[in-house]
Point group: C2
Chain length 390, copies 2
């Protein structure tokens, strides 16, 4: 298989409810990525989009077909992946394979969603369908409930008093907002304090409003190309060093692996092995902080901190720029926003910009290896991508 | 890229509303395909599923994650493609690439749907979202309306008097039911006459009840493997000779190409060129007869008959077994049934069985080259697959 590069990247401003359709948002992000790649739409040979909710949100199934037409890449093969929150990352990994195999030289991967348009109560209920329909959704569970249970399980398993644990969880969100305030594309660009988190409305004990990411409207897109094409088109190539993916089944099936996410342990190992690196080699990571507790679980199942140790590490500042590893310098799902199907390639967008040194105030100086981590549903789909500076 | 084989194939009985979930139906088809491949679930390295409506029909998004767990292939990467009616074929083409590239040796592709469970009126309205949400669905169009317009356009363009044309269209459905009556897995196993079609309720002029395929519950699955693995596992390998895919945008954008489907002309050319064959070399085809008029459009845009000539060819029996080309010996979408996301790999199921000579009463004797054709929405996604007897 061939070496594959990420060329141009694009994303819309992430936001609450706005007036554009999912197809229109994607077109905006895609055109930015194509222009940044020094290409024209007719150079794109295939399209891979992540999307979950545009049928429910705006009556648009199969948005990929209309997105291809919309950017002027009429008739190219256009795929849509649905892997819950990991949809965009599944699309990226798939796009990677079509270039790595030698079948295509230049493709575009991305995602788009108008989840905020639905309003939080309806989006929450609708999106709950991406858990197991028989044993989870069918019992009335929604994702805040799932992650609240994981938070309780985590605190109990590692013997952390809940009042202490809530402050540690709060710090996760404080960090995200600190970086979000330095990202002009973020949905929330305002710093918050631990006290702000602790006085927020209770969503599902112990998770309060600021422990939860928002629903977001937005799109992201990245151009992938063969090494040969990349060398002709850019002086700042970023290469795909490793990809990994695993599925998780329902939560009950994971048993002793909770509050770990077994699929993530497996997916990240695939990516590390393919890239020939260890977790400690990663300079910067965009990981799936849909809830504050999700960050701790991710940091541990990715092998960055030992099991039961992530909360303390966050408290000590080890996940900030300058710490052991820079986590979510974009502001993450919490502050940058979480347009479900667009999140995966928005993570790739941030890592590519970091490796190119284009992140201004939130730049991780000297970053050479970056990683993305996306979790779909409550662990149904996990995708990890490792990128290296060229 | 490596040569890729189709090993075992499986499908459930296609039916109207029944009690199993989309995950349960898929598991049944997948286990048949795995057993027929002389494999065990743990041998499957990745899964690719087509599915469109299980969120609307039964509150199950992301069914692929639970399907992997359900068949005992826990934690394997599991992708879901949504490309409207072509979802299963997109999944198949994707699965093909992951093996052709050398990344995986053995994967499973398939599709599942419980569309009949929704009831025809709700399924029709829901599925209309897979047309363009801005210019088609937004105007109140549903697919019977789209294909009725294409039928009127076809008759007008080629100067066929409508009463004559309606009898020609009816013959398409008569053929499908003739073969469906010989397929024990078909939803409808009863022959019908031209008179039966002409006395049916009018759905959207000129299309009557029997010009329209049903909504169906069902699943299908096929195992794909490298040539090396195939040689060890089967004496009857069937090889993937060509694949093609294209997107279509909205109908209005096709302008002078209507009532042709431009995306199909492009996708089929990709598949023919890759396989090194011409349309006349195909012995048997499973094509997308969602409406009787769709069969005529497909036969022409695939290059099997000249533009404006397919209706007459059907009338003369050239699309029956023993004619110029055997079309839809399974009974097609009309009689075998149309479980949206499962249709593509059900077409592959039939072609694989035909090339192996296992189709009994509906066998196309001596078939060496077979083809599938799946159309998503009103041309948004087209996928063609060409299979050759090993």
């Amino acid at each position: 298989m061939r070496k594959v590069a990420v060329l141009g990247v694009g994303m819309t401003k992430f936001s609450g409810k706005q007036d554009k359709t999912a197809v229109e948002l994607f077109s905006e992000a895609a055109m930015d990525a194509i222009v940044e790649s020094n290409l024209k739409p007719k150079d794109i040979q295939a399209m891979f989009i992540g999307n979950c909710l545009s049928d429910f949100a705006e009556g648009q199934g199969q948005p990929q077909a209309f997105a291809a037409e919309s950017i002027g890449a009429s008739n190219i093969p256009a795929n849509k992946n649905e892997g819950a929150c990991a949809s965009g990352s599944v699309a990226f990994r798939d796009a990677y394979m079509w270039v790595a195999s030698g079948f295509y030289d230049i493709v575009i991967a991305g995602g788009t969603e108008t989840a905020a348009k639905m309003g939080t109560p309806l989006a929450t209920r609708t999106f709950a369908m991406f858990s197991d329909g028989r044993y989870e959704y069918g019992c009335g569970l929604t994702f805040p409930g799932v992650f609240a249970m994981l938070a309780n399980l985590y605190a109990a398993k590692y013997g952390i008093p809940m009042e202490k644990f809530k402050r540690q969880l709060a710090q996760v969100s404080v960090n995200s907002h600190y970086y979000g305030a330095r990202n002009p594309k973020a949905q929330f660009q305002k710093e918050i304090t631990v006290e702000d988190v602790l006085k927020g409305v209770m969503v599902a004990y112990p998770l309060q409003l600021h422990d939860c990411c928002p629903f977001t409207d937005g799109a992201s897109a990245v151009v992938l190309a063969s090494e040969e094409k990349a060398k002709k088109l850019t002086n700042k190539p970023v290469y795909v060093a490793g990809v990994g993916q695993a599925s998780g089944g329902n939560l009950a099936s994971q048993q002793e692996y909770l509050p770990r996410i077994r699929a993530r342990e497996l997916a990240s190992k695939q990516a590390y092995d393919m890239a020939g690196i260890k977790p400690k080699d990663v300079d910067v990571i965009e990981l799936h902080d849909c809830f504050s507790i999700a960050t701790l679980i991710a940091l541990e199942s990715l092998g960055i901190f030992d099991y039961g140790k992530a909360a303390e590490a966050v408290e000590k500042g080890e996940t900030k720029i300058g710490g052991k590893i820079a986590v979510n310098p974009s502001g993450g799902l919490k502050a940058k926003g979480h347009p479900i199907g667009a999140t995966g390639t928005a993570q790739v967008y941030e890592i590519a910009k970091q490796l190119r040194g284009e992140c201004g105030e939130r730049q991780v100086e000297g970053a050479k290896i970056g990683m993305t981590d996306t979790l779909g549903g409550d662990g149904g789909t996990i995708v990890n991508v490792i990128l290296k500076k060229g």
